[in-house]
């Protein structure tokens, strides 16, 4: 309990600091914040200046501005987009489903492929299959995701015509069809990481006495792996999977750009290109919060998997 409380307190502290960094970043920009926030000098009308000043309370001291901004953000009010003249929260809400669907699909792919290849690698430890899997996944992880994405488009959309070239699709099946290639592009790099961790964790467990003991009394290989190896290897695998998912939630920018998906990542890129700073702040804040909440959650859930750690926690 105490551990959970300190962990959550630490998360909140880091969140406060990082949100302050996100907010105060505009003061680091050359020129005064009004000019920066308006961006294009052509838009420098008195109405616009008033609008910006009202939105950011620029007459107040910095810490008060931050406090007002943060408390508004806390209630879901991220201000108005300068570009779309629409509440930022509304914009995010329309963009979020595509991003979440993309991450969900990619997660299914990299978990199945990564854990599967990792298990295979561990069971064939030191053999050709093992080194082939390691080499192939490492190689794939060295190719930037935008290159993988474009190659996939070129082969499967343009040459073969199996998948649409861009967009996120409407409805469940159409969305699945549209997001298949982007999900693969997003998942490829993660497969290497997850398969490596799975292999490592499995190999560690395979050398344990209790595994040999179970083999010694004739437990069938499939049961042996399930009951004595996988069950014990879960901890690190699950942690890594969650970390990857967390960073994916914040890392769809490139893939969304390649495939022209109107998700949160694309929103961020467009906002930077159009100097739409309220949107930049909101998207960054969303990404940092998601990342931190997921990683903290993993830290808190992890002990529940292992009765040994749970016991230690109880004692402390």
């Amino acid at each position: 309990m105490i551990r959970a409380a300190t962990r959550i307190a630490g998360m909140i502290l880091t969140l406060v600091v990082s949100s302050f960094v996100i907010f105060a970043a505009m003061y680091a920009a050359p020129g005064d914040p009004v000019t920066f926030l308006i961006g294009n000098p052509e838009n420098m009308t008195p109405e616009r200046v008033a609008e910006v000043k009202a939105q950011y309370n620029l007459d107040q001291p910095l810490i008060v501005q931050y406090g007002l901004w943060a408390s508004q953000a806390f209630m879901g009010n991220f201000g108005t987009s300068f570009q779309y003249h629409q509440p930022v929260a509304e914009l995010m809400a329309t963009r979020l489903p595509a991003t979440l669907a993309l991450v969900a699909m990619a997660s299914v792919l990299f978990i199945v492929a990564g854990v599967g290849l990792g298990i295979l690698s561990a069971l064939r430890q030191g053999k050709r299959t093992d080194s082939t899997i390691t080499a192939a996944t490492t190689l794939a992880a060295s190719v930037p995701s935008f290159v993988i994405g474009l190659l996939l488009v070129s082969i499967f959309s343009v040459q073969l015509g199996w998948f649409p070239v861009s967009g996120a699709g409407e409805g469940f099946l159409d969305r699945l069809h549209h997001l298949a290639l982007p999900a693969v592009a997003l998942a490829v790099g993660a497969v290497a990481i997850v398969s490596r961790v799975t292999r490592q964790s499995m190999v560690e467990q395979l050398s344990m006495d209790h595994v040999e003991a179970a083999r010694s009394f004739g437990l069938a290989p499939a049961k042996l792996i399930r009951r004595h190896v996988l069950r014990n290897a879960w901890g690190p695998i699950l942690t890594m999977v969650a970390l990857v998912v967390a960073s994916m939630l914040a890392g769809t920018v490139v893939v969304e750009s390649v495939f022209g998906i109107s998700g949160v990542g694309k929103l961020l890129v467009d906002a930077i290109n159009t100097h739409d700073f309220p949107v930049v702040q909101a998207v960054l804040l969303y990404m940092v919060i998601t990342y931190m909440v997921v990683t903290t959650l993993v830290d808190l859930v992890h002990p529940l998997l292992d009765p040994r750690i749970k016991a230690k926690d109880k004692k402390s």
Partner: protein, 287 residues
């Protein structure tokens, strides 16, 4: 934006020693060729980097154009070689910058402890709260796009990582008896750090930096691809991929494939060399 570093993938224990030697030599040879080509670009490249030729657009690789041409008939091979300069110098510059800051902060934090150490820990905490390239994106959103911003922003993101690594190495180094021996003789901390501690950290740090170089190259190429880094008419590889993108719908893969493959090949080679180097340097370090 893969935020989980490729360095976690770097060690490859399952491949036999002989094969590793072959891979190491091949990678080293390849990198030397790439560096030489970059250095000698004006002399080696058959065409100028921006020589437009509308009579020869979107050509497949052939005798006239070794790797084909792009949508305005620029020779991809020549662009690749010219672009190698910026593509390789970028990560080099960012690492140099990050290393100067990182090693200084890391050593000072290890030597003095106290509030500097605490501050370093807080800064790394906050940095790690920004997954992937998000911190860099924030810097770019504030200071505008361009290769210099991208490099400085990435250096800012890498400095705490290097500082943390240096700190752990320096702490281990400072626990060695010679440090106390010098201290009781009244040798100053600054002199000791510069003369003995930092030089002794160099071997393990170097291996790590090589792996970070591959990562930096990927990150910079990614930023350029998004339009935040290198700007036209540069032929930086990430930018080349972005410009090639438009041809894909029409079935022209070469303008994308050529720079994409170049990035991947260099990153793989750098990782192979980096792992091998840190193995070797570390074993010498420990002896």
């Amino acid at each position: 934006m893969s935020s989980l570093s490729t360095s976690t993938l770097a060690s490859t224990p399952v491949i036999g020693k002989k094969k590793r030697d072959v891979a190491y030599l091949l990678s080293l040879g390849f990198l030397m060729v790439v560096v030489a080509a970059a250095l000698l670009a004006p002399w080696v490249a058959p065409y100028a980097a921006n020589a437009v030729d509308f009579t020869a657009i979107w050509q497949a690789p052939g005798a006239a154009h070794l790797l084909g041409t792009d949508q305005v008939g620029q020779d991809l091979f020549s662009r690749l070689i010219h672009g190698a300069r910026e593509s390789l110098l970028g990560p080099l510059a960012l690492l140099a910058l990050a290393t100067v800051f990182g090693v200084t902060i890391g050593t000072v934090a290890a030597w003095n402890g106290g509030w500097i150490d605490g501050l370093l820990a807080r800064i790394t905490d906050v940095m790690f709260a920004f997954p992937g390239l998000l911190f860099v994106v924030l810097v770019i959103a504030v200071f505008g796009k361009g290769p210099a911003t991208a490099i400085v922003a990435l250096a800012l993101a890498y400095a705490p990582v290097i500082a943390k690594f240096t700190r752990s190495l320096a702490l281990a180094e400072m626990a060695r008896p010679y440090v106390d021996a010098y201290r009781v003789q009244g040798v100053g901390g600054f002199f000791l750090c510069v003369r003995y501690i930092i030089p002794n950290l160099t071997p393990p740090l170097l291996g790590y930096l090589v792996v970070l170089f591959g990562e930096g190259l990927m990150s910079l190429a990614t930023l350029s691809f998004l339009g935040f880094g290198a700007q036209p008419p540069s032929s930086e590889w990430g930018l080349m991929v972005q410009e090639g993108q438009s041809g894909i719908i029409q079935g022209h893969i070469w303008p994308t494939l050529v720079p994409g493959a170049a990035i991947a090949a260099v990153v793989v080679a750098v990782n192979v060399v980096g792992v091998r180097l840190s193995d070797r340097l570390n074993s010498r370090f420990e002896r």
